[in-house]
Amino acid sequence: MSVGIVHFLFLGGFLFAAGAFAVARQRSYLGAVAGLPLLLAGAGLDLVAVSRFATARSDQLAGQGFAVLLAMLVFAFVAVGAALNRLETPR
């Protein structure tokens, strides 16, 4: 079975929903922070897949550029979240 945009969108949707699930369900601060990378990774995968499959004449690098931006944003989110968690946790 050949793989198309639907497969990538389905996987991106799963990652996004798993991230939303982690952010919403986990009561611990660190658990919620761990859901953010999944949320943004799902969005990044969709962007790259759409720019690969569904753009005929436009620049394919545009979607990849947004995915790179999202990946760096993920690391910034997690780093700030872990630092805040360390500050808030009583010793």
Partner: protein, 161 residues
């Protein structure tokens, strides 16, 4: 895509899904391991989509995030998840609904590789819109969000005392 690409997709999609489930459901070290699996799977999928640089950046950024999570949760035991309040449960249920909606859109959506009547609509056009034409409005919204986040943190710290 040929059979090789299909095989690569299914193999690394399985790795990504397993990592995503681990990161969303587990606690402690398995959570960081799950994020590392997502990083590896996603990087391979990006590479399969001819996005080598995005694959490298994603692998590094998500891998470092997994390390940060591992270090942050190193002193804690991997206990079972706390179920959370009713609002948490409701939010988790809504996440399931979000997945169903996204899956429906993925299967039933029609994807046009062209332009619509209002001009080109793609990520480049969106970027131009946000950082060129409406840059001031975007900066105002970003400043408001930043102020709100800082106020929320300060408010939470004051309430905790």
């Amino acid at each position: 895509m040929d059979t090789l690409h299909s095989g690569i997709f299914y193999a690394f999609a399985a790795v990504t899904v397993a990592g995503g489930l681990l990161a969303a459901l587990a606690a402690g070290r398995p959570r960081a391991l799950g994020l590392a699996l997502v990083a590896a799977g996603l990087a391979a999928l990006y590479a399969d989509l001819d996005a080598g640089f995005a694959a490298l950046v994603t692998l590094v950024a998500l891998g470092l995030s997994a390390l940060v999570l591992l270090r942050a949760g190193a002193g804690r035991t991997a206990t079972a998840l706390e179920p959370g309040t009713l609002v948490n449960q409701l939010g988790a249920s809504l996440a399931g609904v979000v997945f169903l909606v996204l899956a429906y859109i993925a299967f039933r959506g029609a994807y046009f590789a062209d332009y619509h009547a209002g001009g080109s609509f793609n990520t480049a056009a969106l970027g131009r819109l946000l950082v060129d034409r409406d840059a001031l409005a975007v900066e105002a919204v970003a400043a408001a969000l930043l102020t709100g986040a800082a106020a929320a943190v300060l408010f939470a710290r004051v309430r905790a005392r």
